[in-house]
Structures are given as C-alpha cells and as structure tokens.
Symmetry: C2
Subunit: 168 residues, 2 copies
C-alpha cells in the first residue's frame, strides 16, 4: 500500500500558500521550482486540489493559485482525499460467495465482517488526518522551526518576488 | 492508495483454517479452489503468511497449511502486515530541503511535521486492525451467519474431505 508522491507535494504547496498573504497567488511553475519537483506532475496535484475546492485559481499574467479556504478550514484529510480520491484502500470482491456451495444471494446483503473491520480501520486513518489542519501544520513548522530566521527570510523574499495578487 | 487483493484472500484463508480442527492441514490448491481464486496468486499470499510465522506448513502427500498460532493470537494487523509489508504508505522525500535556500542539514534531523501527522494516522489504522483477531472474525461469521446451516454443512464436508492431518 502506498500513497502517491503527489500527497507530499500537495500538502507542502498548501503550507506555502498558507504562509503567503491571503490574496497572494503563486504559479504552478513557482511552486514546482520552490519544491524542486517536476512541474507537470505537480500541476496534476494542484488540479486535484482545485477540483476539490481547496485552492482557487486566477487567470492572467499574475495569475496562479491561492487557498480557497482559511488554513484553519483545510485538513490533512481534505488534501489527501483530493489527491488520492475517496476509493477505499480495501476492496472486497465478495470472495465469500465463491464457496463451493454458496448461499442464496440475499444472504450476502450485509457486508462481510472482514470488510467491515478493514473499513473501520480506514475510518480511523481518515479521522486522524481530519484532526490536523493546514494551520496547525504551519504552526508546527513555526514552533519546531529548525530553519534559521535568516534562511527563512531569504526563502520568503524569493517567493514574494514571484507572487501575484488575486483580484477575484 | 490500494491494498493488494491478496489481503482479502489471506484473511479468508485464515478464517477457514481457524474453522478447521487445530491439527488439520489444507493445501494451497484446496484453499484456491474453495475461494475461487488463482492458485499461483494465492500461493504468494500464503507464503507471506508463512514467512510471518502465522501459518505452518507440513510437507508430504497430506501436507498443507494450518494456523501456527491460535486464532485468538492472530490479528487482522498481523495478516495485513504479512501480505503488504511494513513499509509506511506515506513516504517522505524531504521535499522541505528543496527550498531555494535550504538550511544546514542538521536542521532537518527532526522529521517534518507533515510526515509525523501522516504516520500518526497510519498508526491509528494499524491500531484499529490490531484490535480485531481472527477468532473475533470467525465469531462475526457465526453470529451474523446468514448462510443457512445446511449450506454451511455442505461446505464443511467439502473441506473436510480435502484436509490432511499435521503430524508436526
Ligand atoms: S468477502 Fe470480501 S472481505 Fe470477506
Ligand atoms: S518534507 Fe516530507 S512530508 Fe514534509
């Protein structure tokens, strides 16, 4: 079982957008360059965030992406779900019905106990992700921030030079 | 994110072995036939269970598989972990270090907050799976058992005809 690499990229893009002023926009090219990831792949992740309504896009020369909701209102679950989709990780193929002597179909209306337990575990995973907001992750970065302030400032400047303003 | 199909097969094989008398053994061929799945693929899942010490194999004409521990001592986590491996679903590539102005390496000794939150969620998933034993799943089958007793008996007979006795 493996989550796509786009999850790490998408979360870090959200962190970066949460760090910028709310109306600032940042292009896919800048996000890709900042994170050192290939733009076409990152664009796919950004489109997933956009489809899920987590980021808004503005067109034009200074267009780009910004968070569509406040960082307090976006959870890690929202981002993972946007990138990975909401299909369960465990897919029951109703193997129980393959027994040499299967029961009538109506007997299988209730989900198999194995599948129920597997899905309950996935729900625990989702619940845990839903407890963490982008805002809380930004704070973690700030609190534990091992990056020296001078380095942080240079990154901030690099970014600010490349951001536009949304008029949407 | 998707779990391999082998998980469903492996769990149902364990349920079936838990259903048999403790010393009875069942061959990969019989397990594959019972569950209507291709033997070569199922064999891979059974080998994973064997490597993890969850099933024991006996050689010879009447050889086959049986549970190596009591059904109360095997959890859903044990089975999933055996089949899927223990690699985390979320892999951090240290994308944070790709910033235009990275901090000195020592600043990144502590894991990224995003990765920590992702792994915490995976732990919640594992914890949930670890709460469910094969014995409990067998009980679920018994309690909710929608399969008419006559059908169950025919399946049991089909199976008993094909099981050997372990002398290990
Ligand atoms: S039939 Fe699919 S998990 Fe049991
Ligand atoms: S650097 Fe990998 S999750 Fe943050």
């Amino acid at each position: 079982m493996r989550l796509s690499q786009g999850v790490e990229w998408a979360v870090h893009c959200c962190l970066l957008m949460a760090w910028l002023p709310p109306t600032a926009t940042v292009s896919a090219t800048t996000l890709a360059e900042y994170h050192g990831v290939p733009r076409p792949y990152l664009a796919k992740a950004l489109q997933a965030l956009s489809r899920a309504g987590l980021v808004a896009t503005t067109a034009g020369r200074s267009g780009g992406y910004r968070l569509a909701r406040r960082p307090q209102e976006i959870t890690l679950f929202d981002v993972v779900n946007a990138v990975e989709g909401d299909q369960p990780a465990f897919r029951c193929t109703e193997i129980r019905q393959n027994a040499p002597f299967p029961a009538p179909e109506r007997c299988y209306r209730k989900s198999c106990g194995v599948a129920v337990a597997m899905w309950r575990a996935e729900q625990a995973w989702r619940d845990s992700l839903a407890e963490v907001t982008i805002a809380a992750l930004v704070d973690t970065y700030r609190d534990n921030g091992p990056v020296p302030p001078a380095v942080q400032q240079r990154n901030a400047d690099w970014l600010t030079e490349r951001t536009g303003q949304s008029h949407g």
